[in-house]
Structures are given as C-alpha cells and as structure tokens.
C-alpha cells in the first residue's frame, strides 16, 4: 500500500489522480502507524515552506518522515522541505538532503520558473527508461543547488537539482503527476522499487 502524506499543502488531488491513472491504490493520511506500515510513502507539496514546516512540526511529521525506512518520494515543496534550509521565509527544513534551497534571481528569467524544462545528468532507479533531455513540468520560485545527492539536473539561470536521492529518500522538484508520459514513468519507477 502506498501512503500519501496528508498535510496543509495543495496538489494532493493531482497526485491521487495520477496514481489512479497508473492503477495504484493509495491511502491519504497523517496517521503515524499507517505511514510507518506503508510500502511506499509520497510526500507531495505546493505552497509556502515555513507554513508547511510549522504544520509538520505541530504533528510530529518533521521527525517521522526522516525516520522512515521504506522508499519515500517528496515532490516540489515536499522535496524542498526534505532539504536543510529554504530561503523562503528563512525556514529550517528536515535536513534529509544536505543542501540548501535558494530563490531564483530575477536574472534567471521570469519567476516562478513555469513550464516544461528538460532534464540531464540522469542517474538512479527513478529515471530508468527516461531519455536524456526529457521534459517535465515545473512551477517553483525556489530550488536546491546541485549536490552529491543530485540524480537529475535542470537549468534555469543556474543548474539546480531536479531530482535527489539519498538511501531510501527520493525527491523531484517538478510535478511528475502532471508531467505527461515521462512523469508517469517516474512515478511507476518509484512504485516498483
């Protein structure tokens, strides 16, 4: 059973529909026991970092998520919250990935970085079958720098981490759930880990 972590972030609905399209069953919950017993955990997110972190802290999810042993996939703001620190309202995050999240400077182009951008320097099990320069859909104003945990790079003004992986923790800055067939394959790769 796959669990989607329920918290005060948007776009959970899109993730649920994406799992339904690929025939995966799931539970949406913030219950610790259910989360701990799941085969796979998806930690989605759209919204503002400090509000989301405050919510996670109130419910102890900020301690629970880093302690999970099964494969965990964080997307968008979910991924940012798994990093060390976000410039968005100077937010201390969960620190699963030892990297900071910084705002795109105006010189990078329009912010938020909105639309389909290409991935390169792909590695790891989630990108299996994904061709180099495949396109995925991004909407974000903040991004994690490239680091040893980076498994896919995207360029917008500067190279940034489009995907990260460390042990059982996986993350994607883009919205795999609405990234066409490429996004669907990445989700399927995660679910078959």
């Amino acid at each position: 059973m796959t669990v989607i972590i329920k918290y005060n972030a948007g776009n959970v609905q899109s993730v649920m529909y994406a799992l339904e399209r690929i025939g995966a069953s799931y539970t949406l919950t913030d219950d610790e026991t259910t989360i701990r017993s799941a085969d796979k955990v998806i930690f989605p997110g759209v919204g503002e970092a400090s509000t989301a972190m405050a919510y996670l802290r109130e419910r102890g999810l900020d301690k629970l998520i880093p302690s999970l042993k099964q494969p965990v996939l964080g997307t968008c703001v979910g991924m940012q919250l798994m990093c060390r620190h976000s410039e968005e309202n100077d937010t201390t995050c969960m620190g699963i990935f030892d990297i900071d999240v910084r705002r795109f400077p105006a010189a990078a182009g329009k912010v938020p970085h909105t639309g389909w951008n290409s991935l390169h320097s792909l590695r790891g099990p989630l990108t299996e079958g994904i061709p180099p320069e495949a396109y995925v859909y991004f909407v974000h104003s903040y991004a994690a720098d490239v680091c040893p945990d980076t498994t896919a790079v995207c360029d917008y003004g500067r190279p940034f981490s489009a995907m990260l992986q460390k042990d059982n923790f996986y993350a994607a800055q883009f919205h795999a759930e609405i990234s066409g067939n490429v996004g669907q394959l990445i989700l399927e790769n995660f679910l078959t880990l």
Partner: protein
C-alpha cells in the same frame, strides 16, 4: 531549456466545447474531456477550460467535468469562468484543476488576487486580462470583452503581478476571432513589464503567427481554440514547425 507552451483553450457551455467569432455565434466542437485527452496525447503543453456561462446550476456540472478531466489527462490544466471567491477556487482545485483563471472578479475586487495567492499559492492563480484598443489606449474589458473598465492594460498587468498572480492570460479583443495574428506589440509590452509568464491569446490563424508571438511578442505561451478544434492546425505539426523555426518546444513524438 525552458520551452514555449502551446495551449488549446476549450470554451465550455452546458458541458460541451464551443467557440465562436468575437465571442458570439457559438459552434459546437465536441466533448471537452475527450478533446482534452486528445490534445494531451498530441503534445499540448497545458489545457485551459473556460466556462463561458457559469451559473449556479452549471457550477456543479463544471466541477464534475473538472473531475473527469483530471482523471483523463496527465498534463496541467486551468479552469476559468465565473470564479469570484476562495470557496470557488477551493472547489475547483479539490476537484483536480491545477490552476484557476480569474477575470471580471479580479477587476471588481483586486484584493481577491492577494487573497487567493496567499491561500493557494501564486503558482495556481492566473489573472486573465481581456483588452481592447480604445481611443489610442489599451483598456481592460470585462464581460467577455463587452464592458470597458477604467483600467489601463499595462498598469493592470503590473498590478496583478504585485498582488500575487502567477501568470497573465492576455486576450486581445481586437484580434480575437480574426485569425489575422496575435497582438504582438501589446503582448511584448506586457511580457516585458511583468516578471511572470504571459500567455498570449486572440488572433492565431497560421503557424507563423505563433513564431511571431514567441519572438516579437515575447510571449511565454500561445493559446488558441478554433484552429485546433476544427483541425485547421494540428498540434504535432505546429510544434514541429516551431522547433524548426528555432523556438524551444517540447516534442513528444
């Protein structure tokens, strides 16, 4: 590289897709869910659904339609038409819409943009601006372009950005339905003034019009309806053509 986006727009009335010339004389172009799924498979980068006759009764039909679309398509889609409150937006996002587009309600109550951006995040709030050239000035219009406001288009575009809009959907009522090309100068002016993406709409008739709107017009996305619905231009052909013209495109086939 970040690509320019091609966005088919589906005008919805009574759960069906319609599109007329200059917003009158509507014609039926099919089932929106089926059409949306076809466009997604053909390589459309996003979809926009505009409910052009949003009454209370039809609202429920729209929510159901949004659910069906969200099940059927794996690309982002926006829903607009008759949205005037946090509750309206919440219902649409919960049904599976990725973004909403507001227009008249933002003109009536600009604070709504701030409120929605704060509640749901800028990334899902598009402000649609319908504009017409009147006595030497670009003036914002509402009610499907019929009613002039006091707002100057460029100043309003900057204001909606400051208030937290994530994107601007700019429709020129002068070019809409003419198939004579997008309003290039105005689109370029708005796109240069705003540091958020601008979706250009109104006037697409040929593939070259899209090249122009992405180069001269500086648009981030191009939106069209009837040329796609009536298969005058195929999305795969258009994207292949634009890629050949040196426009960054996501080619899926």
């Amino acid at each position: 590289m970040l690509t320019k986006r091609i966005i088919p727009c589906l005008d919805i009335k009574d759960g069906r897709t319609v599109k007329g010339t200059n917003f009158v004389n509507l014609r039926d172009a099919g089932d929106p869910v089926e059409l949306g799924a076809i466009y997604a498979a053909e390589g459309a980068d996003e979809l926009v659904f505009l409910d052009i006759t949003a009454t209370v009764d039809e609202r429920k039909t729209l929510i159901e339609l949004v659910r069906r679309v969200a099940h059927a398509v794996n690309i982002p889609f926006t829903v607009g038409g008759g949205i005037s409150s946090v509750a309206d937006v919440s219902a649409l996002l919960n049904a599976g819409a990725d973004k909403v587009s507001i227009n008249s309600s933002a003109v009536r109550n600009p604070g709504l943009i701030n409120e929605l951006a704060l509640e749901f995040g800028s990334q899902c709030i598009i402000v649609a601006i319908d504009t017409r050239y009147v006595s030497g000035e670009h003036i914002v219009h509402t009610h499907g372009g019929r009613k002039a406001t006091e707002l100057r288009t460029l100043a309003w575009a900057k204001e909606v950005e400051e208030r937290g809009a994530g994107e601007i959907l700019l429709t020129s009522m002068d070019t809409d339905g003419t198939k004579a090309g997008f309003a290039l100068e105005l689109t370029a002016a708005v796109s240069s003034a705003a540091n958020i993406p601008v979706i250009a709409s109104g006037g697409a008739g040929t593939m070259a019009h899209f090249t122009e709107v992405f180069t001269t017009g500086k648009a981030d996305a191009g939106l069209a309806a009837s040329i796609f619905h009536f298969k005058e231009i195929g999305i795969p052909d258009l994207k292949q053509y634009l890629a050949g013209e040196g426009i960054p495109m996501r080619l899926t086939n």
